[in-house]
């Protein structure tokens, strides 16, 4: 599991998902139940009518990408149904012909949150409360309470009250009083929670009807309470009427297209693309079957086969070790160390193939059952990652034999499998001639930058060579060298900053035309015993910083809580990313708490000092699905003022990590992922250190193993 070999792609996965799912052919009678029953999305990417929201929720875990256009306004929205009732959206909108504030086309980023207060019942409608654009620069800011009710299978009626943007047309008064201060770019840097505005000022009614005569077609009529004052005053478009009309067509399970006539003057289009961790484009993970369990002869009938005298035969230990090593290698498992006794064996394996540690354990157990003499009854399988011994699974061979053919084999095996902490690897048990281990790889890479006001999408394509040299378990020299081949990232703009430019000068690092060193590190990561793990890293840690890093993690095998501390000394690297260093250096570090909730949420809090010398804390919450999909959001607050931070006020973003096997159906540990930051500033910036401990140690945690336990028999 040498982390150096793992690869990450970028936000282009989203573009790709859209291409994949959108390209599924339209076939008659091929709309799945999920697609036919899924509420449609509006121009803001939320469950809704045309421009107005409804109270419906998407299925839990659903991700919607919408691209909508009308009257010179394009909105791209990513919406995630965080829990069955809560959803969040991130939007990137472009308004043409804005021609004010120095923008010809105005690009705007915004976040929404919606919560369904009431589910639709027999006599009452669903009710949802929503905050639109609640941390952005505020041009779409609006709040609403909306109710939606289905009448039969085909008709949906929605009515609501909106504030802010959604209370701007034909308002009936100010139910919660208060005034709503206008957004002022001179005093507001955007990005702050505009709590003082929520539900304040004039309110107005909106509503509409959706009629779906069959599983593909939908017709919509709505009354909009948005006056579009900022747009009409700038001549972006002319608003003639509050009434909007639309027709939508479900092309396939993922894609829904719509055409509309809006505000009495404009034609509009909307593409809604839906996907979910619960629906894989591959059908299952396809791979060769595992070795069958061949039961041992009954002891009473063949006592000689069960004799333990073989342990005294010279070379028996080495011969069995070699056999196990070969069979495990075919299963993508590296045998690091083993200790074979007459009645038990401990093997230490590094899982290089399966996303699921349970599957690695299962395949290893089958290899042991196929290789060893009958007297070896207890298998102790230790998952290791370099010098980190993660956990030990204790499985009895007789249980494997008895349960393999049982219908409830997975549940039954889990009840008789024990998990314990694993001690550090004994150097005398390490497989001879395994070390030093050398690995290399050559692969193309992409790098992207989004939301630059002049160039919303910048992308580079290049070639990257990686190599790692492991002297002994956990002692690794590794690095990667890359060369940009083609791309537009060198057009990224450098922004000014009141803080040391620890991240805002990223554009200067994108100018390099020659080969550059991405990372070059020497690291030692070891189990320290007693649930403690340690790491020390020195070298060129990331593109922008070199330095020294030390980390300590406490993470018991069965504990949902883990605690860590990290201290680093970092020096800014030269822009050409060769060996040179600049003058800026900083001591940065954090104490961290990690918690794995049993409802699928992971939370981590990091408190400490950031790259620009600012002090504060980061909260990162992720929804983790059992198959390894992770969707999360983070925010960092430090002692830097909004003014010094600049646009956005504080650092925040969305994270996405998807196992590649979900796309391809091939067993692999690779992931693709991205961090979407609306804006990159210098406050709350964290050093990126390769091989941080928590995600590595977690692969051996009981909760993580149990998430995919069924794969133990795969």
């Amino acid at each position: 599991m040498s982390y150096g070999i793992r690869r990450r792609a970028s936000l282009s996965i989203l573009a790709c998902l859209v291409a994949v799912l959108g390209a599924a052919p339209a076939m008659a009678n091929d709309i799945s139940r999920v697609a036919a029953e899924r509420p449609s999305l509006n121009f803001f990417g939320n469950s809704g009518l045309i421009d107005m929201p409804s109270a419906e929720s998407q299925p839990d875990g659903e991700i919607g990408v919408t691209v909508s256009y009308f009257g010179g306004i394009t909105r791209n929205t990513l919406t995630f149904q965080i829990t069955p009732r809560l959803s969040g959206s991130f939007r990137y909108a472009a308004t043409q012909d804005w021609n004010s504030g120095g923008f010809a086309t105005y690009y705007d980023r915004s976040f929404d949150l919606r919560y369904q207060l009431l589910r639709e019942g027999r006599y009452w409608p669903a009710v949802t409360i929503g905050l639109q654009d609640f941390v952005g620069t505020g041009i779409y800011a609006g709040e609403y309470i909306v109710a939606t009710r289905n009448f039969g299978d085909h008709l949906t009626v929605t009515a609501g009250i909106g504030w802010g943007r959604l209370g701007s047309y034909n308002s009936f008064g100010t139910p919660f009083a208060g005034d709503r201060p206008a957004f002022d770019p001179a005093t507001n840097f955007g990005g702050e929670f505009s709590v003082d505005q929520w539900f304040r000022g004039p309110a107005a009614f909106f509503g509409g009807v959706e009629w779906r005569p069959n599983e593909r077609l939908g017709f919509k009529i709505e009354y909009s309470s948005d006056a579009f004052q900022p747009e009409t005053s700038r001549g972006v478009f002319t608003r003639e009427s509050p009434w909007n009309f639309g027709v939508e067509y479900q092309v396939n399970d993922s894609l829904r297209l719509g055409a509309y006539y809006l505000y009495g003057s404009e034609f509009g289009l909307n593409a809604q693309i839906a996907f979910s961790p619960r629906r894989s484009p591959a059908s299952g993970i396809r791979q060769e079957g595992p070795l069958p369990i061949t039961p041992r002869p009954a002891r009473e009938e063949n006592p000689d086969a069960w004799a333990e005298t073989w342990v005294t035969i010279p070379n028996a230990d080495a011969a069995f070790g070699e056999r196990i090593r070969e069979l495990l290698a075919a299963e993508g498992q590296t045998l690091i160390a083993y200790d074979l006794q007459a009645d038990e064996i401990e093997v230490r394996i590094e899982n290089d193939r399966y996303l699921s540690s349970a599957q690695a354990i299962g395949r290893t157990a089958r290899v042991l059952a196929a290789s060893l003499l009958p007297s070896v009854e207890t298998f102790r399988i230790v998952l290791v990652d370099g010098g980190l011994a993660l956990s030990t699974a204790v499985i009895r061979r007789s249980d494997l034999e008895a349960l393999e053919t049982e219908p409830n084999a997975a549940e039954a095996l889990r009840t008789v499998t024990g998990f314990t902490a694993a001690g550090p690897t004994d150097a005398t048990e390490v497989v001879p001639d395994l070390y030093p281990r050398f690995e290399w790889s050559l692969a193309p890479y992409t790098r992207t930058s989004f939301f630059d006001p002049r160039n919303p999408i910048l992308i580079d394509l290049g070639l990257r060579a990686r190599a790692s040299y492991e002297f002994r378990p956990g002692w690794v020299l590794e690095g990667s060298v890359a060369q940009r081949i083609v791309g537009t990232l060198d057009r990224a703009r450098q922004t000014s900053s009141n803080l040391p430019p620890v991240r805002t000068n990223f554009a200067l690092y994108e100018q390099t035309e020659t080969p550059f060193i991405e990372t070059l590190t020497f690291s030692v990561a070891q189990s320290l015993g007693g649930d403690y793990f340690g790491r020390f890293t020195i070298g060129y840690l990331e593109r922008m910083f070199a330095g020294v890093s030390a980390e300590l993690l406490w993470s018991p095998v069965g504990s949902r809580l883990a605690l860590g501390a990290e201290i680093n000394y970092a020096i800014q690297r030269d822009f050409d990313m060769r060996f040179g260093l600049q003058d800026y250096d900083v001591v940065t570090g954090h104490v961290s708490a990690y918690y794995d909730f049993d409802n699928g949420f992971l939370a981590r809090v990091d408190v400490g000092r950031y790259l620009a010398g600012d002090i504060g804390a980061t909260l990162h919450v992720e929804r983790e699905f059992e198959n390894g999909w992770r969707v999360g959001a983070f925010a960092t607050l430090t002692d830097v003022s909004s003014e010094d931070f600049g646009e956005g006020s504080f650092d925040k973003g969305i994270t996405l990590s998807i196992p590649v096997s979900w796309f391809t159906g091939q067993p692999t540990q690779q992931r693709v992922g991205t961090t979407i930051r609306p804006i990159t500033r210098d406050g709350g910036a964290r050093l990126s250190v390769p091989g941080r401990l928590y995600d590595r140690v977690r692969e051996g945690q009981i909760q993580r193993i149990d998430d995919q336990w069924a794969r133990v028999w795969r």
């Binding site: 291409a19 299952g284 053919t405 059992e626 796309f663």
Partner: protein
């Protein structure tokens, strides 16, 4: 899959965006401990794992290639793929068969209890009640539970209410040899909207009490497998 266009688009994506790597650091050469055994079948039956016509073995060619042990031929109806299988293991009355491409099928008395390597596999299926009914040779009603893994890798148990009906005797040909069989049809219904009804068929060789042919359901994705026992 049937979604050929989507498959193509996604391979392009996988190649272009997800960055295929080369070098020993990339675990691209997947295999399993079973593959060396599987190769014997591949060579023997001249089945290169190609869909459709790849399978060319005859009873005579199998004998000439030294296949004297039990031999099964399976056809994946939806994908029109045929492959030969040999026994790879036995445990407590179940037999695991290995195909040339490394896929495995596990059965008890000819009734499938598991598959591996087909995609959305049959994780496990209960076989006891059906096996008993087939041995008795009468019509019977019983419950069978099928388990599959969903895309989140969680076990989904589907409870089927099944009825087995004898269809009488039928002479069938398996690889140019005639056998007298008793045919049975098993109809199972469930509350699952994905698989509300499945229909399996069994041809039990009367002389040798062996499942000579069967057509059995694997999963909604994979569909049905037709199995023929060529060598006993």
């Amino acid at each position: 899959m049937g979604a050929g266009v989507a498959m193509k688009a996604y391979w392009v994506c996988v190649l272009a965006v997800f960055l295929t790597a080369c070098g020993p650091g990339a675990d691209n050469n997947l295999s399993s401990a079973l593959l060396p055994v599987a190769e014997r079948i591949r060579d023997g039956v001249r089945d290169r794992g190609q869909p459709g016509d790849g399978f060319t073995a005859t009873r005579a060619s199998l004998a000439a290639d030294g296949f004297n042990d039990p031999f099964l031929v399976a056809r994946l109806d939806a994908r029109n793929i045929r492959t030969g299988l040999i026994q790879a293991g036995q445990n407590r009355g179940t037999v695991t068969w290995l195909a040339a491409d490394g896929a495995t099928l596990t059965e008890r008395d000819g009734v499938l209890s598991a598959s591996r390597g087909l995609g959305v596999d049959l994780y496990t299926a209960e076989t006891a009640a059906l096996g008993q009914a087939l041995r008795a040779g009468n019509s019977a009603s019983y419950v069978r539970r099928y388990r599959h893994l969903d895309p989140l890798a969680q076990i989904v148990v589907t409870r089927f209410d099944c009825t087995l009906m004898p269809d009488g005797r039928e002479a069938i040909e398996v690889f140019d040899v005639s056998f007298t069989t008793a045919r049975y049809t098993e109809i199972c219904t469930s509350a699952s909207l994905d698989a509300p009804q499945i229909e399996n068929q069994y041809w039990v060789d009367q002389d040798r009490s062996i499942m000579r042919r069967s057509r059995q359901w694997i999963s909604t994705d994979v569909g049905y497998l037709t199995l023929e026992r060529v060598i006993d």
